[in-house]
């Protein structure tokens, strides 16, 4: 065990290559990229199957493979990394034709992820991804390294990157952190299934529709090239039989949507488990590609809980944890999803992140004007447009029976959107809740606020309404249509909290 510790401390000071099987990984990736780039060629060969001279194609393929193998070997040779202790930098050289030198300052490292793709799984190596706050793309990725080295490197990088005060394990006990403790939360397939069937309907359904439409138009091109046959089909469509079978097709679509949702949840998040590693949380998941993400509680800026009526009944919810990022909208890596956990599990996670369970505190409701403005935008304006269109073109009039349906749906949306929109404040947390069907609850700590913006339209001055935005490094939290004179003292209070806080926000 002592040898692990010793290698963990000094092994990366001298420039070194990846694991030898790294050549295979490089080869597989290069091959994958080549196939992706030249897929039309393969398609062509497949279509002109009979006219192809197999000798030439075989020779060509062999040549290409040999070239790729050489390239992979050169890539492996030129891929060298080490840690420069004196300058506190991680340095990586790579590239065959275009040489590249990546330098990452150890103090700027935010996250170190250890992942394993399908290819890497086959040869039992791991990828180490080093992330900094500055850019959305991972700065430096090592593609093939043994598990022990990966863990040691990660330990080493984070050890230096982290402030000394965060270090829980004293230096002599490094191997304890290397051998990860058993997970304290493992999300069962059952929970994943529950979340899978109760979320993302619209997304999956549109995906499916798009997919079916592509198939339909392709099939149509091939089979029904003649115009008259297509019109005959359309005649048939008007008959009752076709209507019934359309309903059946629709039913199948719905079922397939559910199934796709299930798979989209269960494959990427398979065996999602969370372990404690010192002060941090290690999240591992994935069936085909396994992923590991380290979450450091003090880097967390915003925690979001998402749940809906059905999920509440089944006691599951989703969590999104946002870490500091220069641009939260484009930087996918900065937000970490916990796909499904029970109420008690979410409480455990919240307690680990915040040190306590967030209480809701004083409740602020948006002003009733929020409803009025929604009615104006989503009911009054569309109605006026419809009336105008119907007056100009009586054809539109025959769709009038859709109007009450529209009104009912939109009124329900407006009502629930208002009813669910709340801001809860106490001296340790600010909690914003919003949503129509899926209810989002965003939790931040006041001392992690970066700046505050208030906004008041001139027509809202007399009725004392204003919007307030709390800017955090994990995105903005905006509460609109607040009672302005009620929210302003809170702004002063939050500023006081930020300005008197000695805690590091990151």
């Amino acid at each position: 065990m002592a040898s692990v510790e010793a290698s963990g401390n000094t092994a990366f000071d001298t420039p070194q290559r990846q694991s030898r099987v790294g050549i295979l990984v490089e080869f597989a990736y290069t091959l994958q990229r080549t196939v992706r780039a030249f897929w039309p060629v393969f398609l062509y060969l497949a279509i002109r199957f009979k006219e192809v001279n197999f000798l030439y194609v075989g020779l060509g393929a062999l040549l290409v493979l040999a070239a790729l193998a050489v390239l992979a070997y050169l890539k492996y040779l030129n891929f060298v990394f080490h840690i420069d202790e004196s300058r506190r930098e991680f340095i990586l050289h790579r590239g065959v034709f275009n040489k590249k030198r990546v330098v990452v300052q150890l103090s700027k490292i935010q996250q170190v992820n250890i992942n394993q793709s399908f290819i890497q799984k086959m040869v039992d190596v791991y990828a180490v991804e080093i992330e900094t706050a500055g850019s959305a793309k991972s700065e430096a990725t090592i593609k093939a390294i043994s598990k022990a080295s990966a863990l040691a490197l990660k330990e080493r990088l984070l050890d230096v990157a982290q402030n000394k005060k965060d270090r829980v394990a004293p230096p002599g006990e490094g191997e304890i952190a290397v051998e990860t403790p058993p997970p304290f939360i493992t999300i069962s397939l059952g929970s994943l299934a529950k979340v899978g069937i109760t979320s993302n309907y619209i997304e999956s359904f549109t995906l499916l529709l798009a997919f079916l439409y592509t198939i339909y138009s392709n099939v149509k091109d091939v089979w029904w090239n003649e115009k008259d046959q297509e019109s005959r089909l359309q005649d048939l469509a008007s008959s009752l039989v076709i209507t019934q079978s359309l309903l059946v097709v629709f039913g199948i679509l719905v079922v397939v949507t559910f199934l796709i949702n299930l798979l989209r949840m269960m494959i990427p998040y398979f065996h999602f488990n969370i372990r404690k590693q010192g002060p941090s949380l290690l999240l591992s998941y994935g069936l085909v590609n396994s992923k590991n993400t380290l979450l450091r509680p003090h880097k967390v800026q915003v925690v979001k809980l998402i749940t809906n009526y059905l999920q509440r009944k089944m006691d599951v919810l989703r969590m999104v944890i946002r870490q500091a990022s220069s641009d939260i909208r484009t930087d996918k890596k900065a937000s970490i999803q916990i796909p499904g956990c029970s109420g008690t599990e979410s409480k455990t996670i919240l307690k680990l992140i915040f040190g306590k369970h967030p209480q809701k505190g004083i409740m602020l409701k948006p002003n009733i004007r929020r409803i009025i403005s929604s009615i104006g935008i989503f009911i009054f304006i569309p109605m006026a447009l419809y009336v105008a269109v119907a007056l100009a073109n009586p054809l539109a009039y025959q769709y009038r029976y859709l109007l009450p349906i529209y009104l009912m749906v939109v009124s329900a949306f407006i009502y629930f959107s208002y009813q669910n929109n709340r801001l809860f404040i106490n001296d340790q947390f600010i909690i914003k809740q919003h949503g129509i069907w899926d209810i989002h609850t965003e939790i931040i700590e006041p001392f992690k606020i970066q700046a505050i913006t208030t906004r008041q339209n001139f027509w809202h001055r007399r009725v004392d309404i204003g919007h307030v935005t709390l800017h955090t490094a994990g995105g903005d939290i905006t509460f609109r249509f607040a009672d302005f004179s009620r929210v302003k003292p809170f702004v002063d209070y939050w500023l006081y909290q930020v300005e008197s806080s000695e805690e590091a926000w990151m």
Partner: protein, 180 residues
């Protein structure tokens, strides 16, 4: 996190950001705005004139287009004037307040201990009037960054130094905590 377990303060005893005296932008900066506006007015005007005189079917409407263009630019000018008059900032002991907006009054408050870095920019024309632009960046992303144009250069320099000193103090304090 123990030092925040005290009860909620009486908010009325805290300094109110609303009641702070807002310093307007230096009047000379209006000249800079007018100059920039003038350039844009001429550029667009020339472009429009070229299009009108090269397309023969537009030529009969040349006068209408001219009037429309002047009305449009005139309203832009008025909006610029209102925006200029509503712009202002206030420097407090621990934060900076920046207020602006035409239809809405937008107030952004950035605490000094959350500023990532400060930039001082000088435009070509601003330099002639001895003015500068102060840019403040936080980790809150682009939506929370502010830039205040039309500050007297010395004043801007002083503000920058004050903020930089605050940031430096903050950092030594934090690393001091870290060693314990």
């Amino acid at each position: 996190m123990d030092h925040f377990t005290n009860d909620m303060l009486d908010a009325s005893s805290l300094p109110k950001h609303e009641e702070v005296q807002i310093t307007p932008i230096h009047p000379s900066y209006w000249n800079v705005i007018v100059f920039n506006f003038g350039i844009i007015f001429l550029l667009f005007g020339t472009a429009l004139a070229t299009i009108v005189f090269s397309a023969s079917n537009l030529r009969p409407y040349a006068w209408y287009l001219l009037v429309a263009y002047i009305l449009w630019m005139g309203s832009v000018f008025v909006v610029q004037r209102i925006a200029f008059r509503k712009r202002g900032y206030a420097l407090r002991q621990r934060d900076l307040i920046y207020r602006r907006g035409v239809l809405a009054t937008i107030t952004t408050i950035i605490p000094f201990n959350r500023i990532q870095h400060v930039a001082l920019n000088e435009g070509f024309l601003s330099r002639y009037y001895g003015l500068a632009q102060l840019q403040l960046f936080t980790a809150g992303g682009a939506s929370s960054d502010i830039r205040i144009s039309g500050l007297v250069k010395d004043e801007a320099e002083r503000m920058r130094e004050l903020i930089m000193r605050q940031i430096a103090d903050e950092e030594t304090e934090q690393s001091g905590n870290g060693i314990q």
